[in-house]
């Protein structure tokens, strides 16, 4: 018993002194930022662009963000929820990160974000914005610097509505983000829906769907088919000759810089929606586009812009708090203020920590040999998502 008491006392002393030591050095320590993103396997192009955009902002400051020393820990989730969950708990428990970011996919975000924010770690999403985390499931520690998932689809719905397009044929993969996409589109488009199709996730052949489009002869086709699905669909749509009679519309995901090269000329002229484009003329964006091209030798994508903005947002908050991350309330307030120049221009957070921003309409063009986008109009000014009202924040 005596021995027991003694050992407890000793270990308490050790723990206390160690704790005191860490508190004493905390000020001088770097801010730890954990990034879990997709760097291998299918879909790695997206995660790599987010990482490179983020890294660019850090490099521009010579390894700092907002004047504060940072330690950036980057890990690859390979698009697997299990792996991402494991890395997340390691970053929380062992590395004791202060801020996390990086996730590309909504299903991974749903698996990880609620747990991380419960541990009082700030999460800044550079891409995934599932409705589940925007409405009743919102959290003071969770910020989305990109958009809420429905936003870009809503924008095309609004655009077709504004232009008085009479009828549309819409299709998306049969999974939650696909259903959100078509719901978002229909929230603003009130014309005649000539057909609504849910395709198999990962489907490669769209001959059957394309034949149905021809049969229905709508005025427009709206599709949300992320990644390779969209590439296959657009190519096959053009091979069937339908692009000449029924124009395609979609969110930026199938017409972004990372993917246009693989789609080829089939994408030329297609109208799509985005909150960002490289030709947005503001100081922050001009610098970002020029520096990105210089650093990586390619044009930045939508995802790169979101990674860059995530880093710039963190920088603005760290600058406001003087690099102090121990006062969470102050840090949260500084992030929510969003006091940085976003590459997309106007940007602020709504009550649910999701953006209120303009959404643009772009068209795919050719600059020399390179396919890219130009802005041709604006679908929404200061747009907020439909779930904000359900959020108690």
């Amino acid at each position: 018993m005596k021995f027991g008491l003694k050992s407890i006392a000793v270990s308490a002393a050790i723990v206390l002194s160690w704790g005191a030591a860490t508190v004493a050095t905390a000020k001088a320590e770097a801010v730890k930022i954990g990034m879990i993103t997709t760097l291998s396997g299918g879909g790695s192009a997206l995660g790599i662009d987010i990482r490179d955009g983020f890294q660019l902002a850090v490099d521009q400051e010579g390894g700092k963000l907002g004047g504060a020393e940072i330690e950036l820990i980057i890990e690859d989730d390979a698009r697997e929820p299990d792996r991402a969950t494991e890395i997340a708990s390691r970053m929380v428990d062992r590395d004791q990160v202060d801020i996390m970011t990086g996730l590309v996919w909504s299903n991974l975000a749903i698996a990880i974000v609620p747990k991380v924010v419960r541990d009082d770690i700030i999460y800044i999403s550079p891409n995934a914005g599932p409705s589940l985390l925007a409405g009743a499931g919102c959290n003071a520690n969770y910020f989305n610097v990109a958009w809420q998932n429905d936003n870009l689809h809503e924008a095309i719905g609004q655009y077709l509505q504004d232009r008085g397009v009479g009828s549309a044929f819409i299709l998306a993969p049969n999974y939650p983000a696909g259903q959100d996409a078509l719901t978002g589109f229909k929230r603003y488009y009130k014309g005649d829906i000539k057909g609504e199709l849910y395709t198999k996730l990962g489907q490669t052949d769209y001959a059957a769907e394309i034949a149905q489009v021809r049969d229905a002869s709508p005025d427009a086709v709206f599709f949300f088919l992320p990644g390779g699905m969209g590439i296959s669909f657009i190519k096959q749509y053009n091979q069937a000759g339908l692009d000449k009679s029924v124009p395609l519309y979609g969110p930026a995901f199938s017409f972004d810089q990372a993917i246009l090269g693989a789609v080829g000329d089939a994408a030329l002229g297609v109208i799509n929606s985005s909150q960002w484009n490289k030709d947005l003329n503001n100081e922050a964006n001009n610098r970002f586009v020029a520096d990105f091209q210089k650093a990586y030798g390619r044009l930045p994508s939508l995802y790169a812009s979101q990674g860059y903005d995530a880093a710039r947002l963190i920088a603005s908050a760290l600058s406001a708090t003087g690099g102090n991350v121990s006062d969470k309330d102050a840090l949260r307030a500084a992030i929510k203020a969003a006091n940085f120049d976003s590459v997309r221009g106007e940007f602020r957070f709504g009550n649910n920590n999701h953006p209120i921003q303009d959404i643009y309409v772009r068209r795919v063009i050719k600059e020399g040999d390179v396919l890219t986008n130009e802005i041709i109009g604006k679908a929404f000014h200061d747009h907020q998502d439909a779930y904000a009202a359900d959020c108690k924040l």
Binding site: A45, D205, A208, Q212, G241
Partner: protein
């Protein structure tokens, strides 16, 4: 009516595409008794090599001419270095090892070509469509896929039924020791068979490149359907692979196009769409269950 005809043609074309992959897979699985999950990786290699050579040389035909021997070579190398050790092992070991190969090939492709999908266009002379019947313009390239698939079926028929190597393949499949005892180099024979299987997968990749997206992991999505095909057709049977492919292609395509419409007749539209798309995603598996219920060995079991 015209829509139905067009969809049947689409189903046939998709089926033939599946056949190009299923033929090689069933040859290896049936004859060498090897479960090769990395068959889709050879398909991916075929597509990437074609895209690279085509963009470098400007000619799809040169891409094709290089991609075929290249995938055959890659296949034979993989057989000699890795798969050869797996023949006597349990199927589970083969699944694990060839799954490892999938990861290896995906990362290899990423190192060589980067993470972004690459571009491959339809060759100039097949660009455009053919008016099969008034009101049904059909892409010429898809007709070419059907033609190539049927030619491959003929080629394989002659190879297995009418040539000496075909005879040895069939004999080696039934009794490996006996063929070996007769002085035939069974190891070399298997390497050649695997090379042919790899080349067929490569050919499927070449044909798929201009239609589908050429990206990392492109083989995995389609491989599941290919396994369904060979289970339906009977493992090891080329004829089974052909019939199974066309059945799966037709059921999948017709299910996707007509199930939701058919269900609208008996329930409200939004439920019909939801249930229709769910059912059509399952249709090929239901077909497989049905076939296995009636014929547990598949439609045309090759041997054993």
């Amino acid at each position: 009516m015209l829509l139905l005809l067009e969809q049947i043609l689409n189903g046939l074309q998709f089926g033939v595409m599946l056949f190009l992959l299923a033929a090689g897979l069933t040859l290896v699985l049936g004859i060498m008794n090897l479960v090769n999950l990395a068959h889709g990786s050879l398909y991916m290699v075929g597509a990437f090599v074609t895209a690279a050579v085509t963009s470098w040389s400007g000619s799809f035909m040169i891409g094709l001419a290089i991609a075929l021997p290249a995938t055959m070579l890659v296949g034979m190398l993989v057989e000699v270095i890795v798969l050869r050790r797996l023949y006597p092992r349990h199927h589970l070991d083969q699944v694990l090892a060839t799954f490892g190969l999938i990861l290896f090939f995906n990362e290899l492709v990423r190192v060589l070509w980067g993470p972004r999908p690459v571009f491959l266009d339809v060759p100039e002379f097949l660009n455009g469509s053919v008016e099969l019947l008034p009101g049904i313009p059909y892409p010429a390239y898809r007709l070419a896929i059907i033609l190539v698939g049927l030619l491959v079926a003929l080629f394989l028929y002659f190879l297995t039924q009418r040539t000496r190597i075909g005879m040895l393949i069939r004999a080696g499949a039934s009794n490996r020791e006996m063929v070996g005892a007769l002085g035939v180099n069974v190891g070399l024979l298997y390497t050649i068979v695997f090379g042919i299987g790899a080349m067929l997968a490569g050919l499927a990749g070449v044909m798929a490149g201009p239609v589908y997206s050429v990206e990392m992991g492109m083989g995995e999505a389609i491989l599941i359907q290919v396994f369904v095909v060979i289970v339906i057709g009977g493992i090891g049977s080329i004829r089974g692979a052909l019939i199974g492919s066309i059945l799966v292609g037709l059921v999948d395509t017709l299910g996707r196009s007509f199930l939701p419409t058919a269900l609208r007749l008996i329930m409200d539209p939004s439920r019909a769409d939801g249930m229709g798309s769910a059912l059509s995603s399952m249709s090929i598996y239901m077909l497989m269950a049905l076939v296995l219920f009636v014929k547990p060995q598949g439609l045309f079991r090759a041997h054993g």
